[in-house]
Symmetry: C2
Subunit: 336 residues, 2 copies
């Protein structure tokens, strides 16, 4: 086996092929933002996501409070991406001996604050010794009145939409790692905040799923190119994205200008924005944008459309030039 | 904060005090083998337990197949300890770059084999890069027709019982670490097997809970002294254990003899036997032993009784001498 070629997605693919049969109670097994189990009262959602020190965060830049709050938010975002209500959390901690009980206290304060914002309860967990600080969270969710939006249900001709703006979190991460650039404070604070304390789009996800107007959904955790790639792959479709339509905040544009970097790179491959990317028919897309804005105050933008798989995944730039959209987003196993 | 005094149980205590309020849907929050949520159809159980390389196992001694099988068994044991049916698993893997896809293949073969034995399905998970190999499992369970057996419901005068024999796993671990002693092969194999591939007592747990004859239950994961300590603490009771009554296998006795070590140490503080420790009134204890044996083929043994909390936790030795039963079992944060 050539270990150098091991990537997160190739491993998930390997595991998915191995575990390809589920009982009739399993509505959705491996391969979406959450697993889904059918129950008498509706559907139960299950997801897990971890934050590893030195891989996903550094205690040099983030407080334990922030680490806790963020770890919970990231899991809640997966339930939001199905259109579900987040419910209960189990916290699996891996800690080194040099952590203090005050650190743990702060960590739980952060987790509890995030839980409170979304009506989630911490009901259990586990603690193990390790040589790296890791917080691994298991989250359950439920949906009783509507159907989940899977990655696999995008249809030909659907418009592709995203909530909010993207690329902000990636710029925030850049600022954390290199604080030497002179960025106006308000801009810096907003970008840092988007990275450190993302707000999962729970009410938006529920609204979009309940509306019955969308066909598929995913949250942007690994980067638009990767996450939209999952929708394409699982729906057996291609996509055409118009770079000029991608919603970029003025802060991302300003940061890119000052740093001399490309904001399109942050938007396409940055990840960790925890915005929602979803699809809806041409007829429903504008309707959904208006209703979502009226109901939640959140803006959504059409950035492209679903095409036949044989046309691949492309991004059309400002000059009308078409480039292949390569999934370059976050791979948890790639060399950094 | 004095970090040297941080123990797994002091941390759990700290967290439990912090999160002491649950909604009415939570039947049992932090502090038992699983959390329990009330649902329209019955009760849902949630638990998580992890295996960390270098802490809980070593790839020097265990194959990836065994690591996977064992990790699942250990989680299933927690659901067994409530008297529930294990159902679905999410697998959170933390892997180093030098792991091969064949290792992952073997790991999943082990997990899937253990799942198959107990009607459990792997429905999702997550993969992260880390500098230590960790397998963290999240298991759900259910119970629709009977009530769970909590740690907190032991009553005064109850008999204390255990299934099978204890101390075997601890001897197996000793043999793994030091293979120089000349132990007869059959003995060695049995002890190694009990350590490497424990069989969670699912049918026994369900039978005991369904019988309505028991009052409390826990699985022996950290060691009898620690685990029985949890029952005492949460039930606000003391305990009197008779060392001569503790079921010790002939293999443990033989290994102790050859190695010149104390089998009582293995039985009391060894842990990882994944037998069940439970309580039942004097009137019901013998009845339960007989019915359990008839129904499952598994022997249970009375090893002592529940007394008032003020009398503490004691162990009465062969000569009638009473010693304090100190919880010396496995603490995941202690120095090893």
């Amino acid at each position: 086996m050539n270990n150098h070629k091991l990537t997160e997605f190739s491993l998930i693919d390997q595991i998915t092929k191995k575990i390809n049969h589920f009982s009739s109670q399993v509505y959705k097994g491996i391969g979406d933002d959450t697993a889904i189990i059918k129950e008498s009262g509706g559907k139960l959602l299950f997801t897990t996501d971890a934050q590893v020190e030195g891989v996903h965060f550094s205690t040099k830049y983030l407080s334990y409070y922030q680490i806790g709050k963020r770890a919970v938010a990231i899991n809640i975002s997966d339930v939001a991406a199905m259109g579900g209500f987040p419910k209960y959390i189990l916290v699996s901690l891996f800690i080194q001996r040099n952590i203090s009980s005050e650190d743990i206290n702060q960590l739980y304060d952060g987790m509890l604050d995030e839980c409170k914002d979304f009506g989630v309860e911490i009901i259990g967990g586990n603690i193990s010794k390790s040589n790296q600080f890791i917080i691994d969270i298991f989250l359950t969710g439920e949906m009783n009145t509507h159907s989940p939006l899977l990655r696999s249900a995008a249809r030909l001709g659907d418009k592709v939409l995203v909530t909010g703006t993207i690329g902000d979190s990636a710029c925030g991460l850049k600022i954390l790692a290199d604080n030497k650039l002179k960025i106006p404070k308000a801009c810096k604070d907003r970008l840092l905040n988007k990275h450190i304390l993302p707000i999962p789009r729970v009410k938006e996800g529920i609204f979009i799923a309940k509306s019955g107007l969308a066909t598929s959904m995913i949250d942007i955790s690994d980067g638009l190119s990767s996450d939209l790639g999952h929708i394409c792959e699982q729906s057996h479709k291609g996509v055409r994205i118009y770079s000029g339509n991608i919603p970029i905040s003025k802060e991302v544009k300003l940061y890119s200008e000052i740093s001399g970097t490309s904001y399109m790179e942050y938007a396409l491959n940055g990840g960790e924005d925890y915005e929602l990317c979803f699809t809806a028919s041409e007829r429903n897309a504008e309707k959904l944008i208006n209703r979502l804005k009226n109901s939640t105050g959140t803006k959504a933008t059409i950035i492209g459309e679903i095409v036949e798989e044989k046309y691949g995944r492309k991004i059309v730039d400002f000059k009308g030039k078409s480039l292949v959209l390569v999934s370059k987003g976050w791979d948890h196993l790639k060399k950094t």
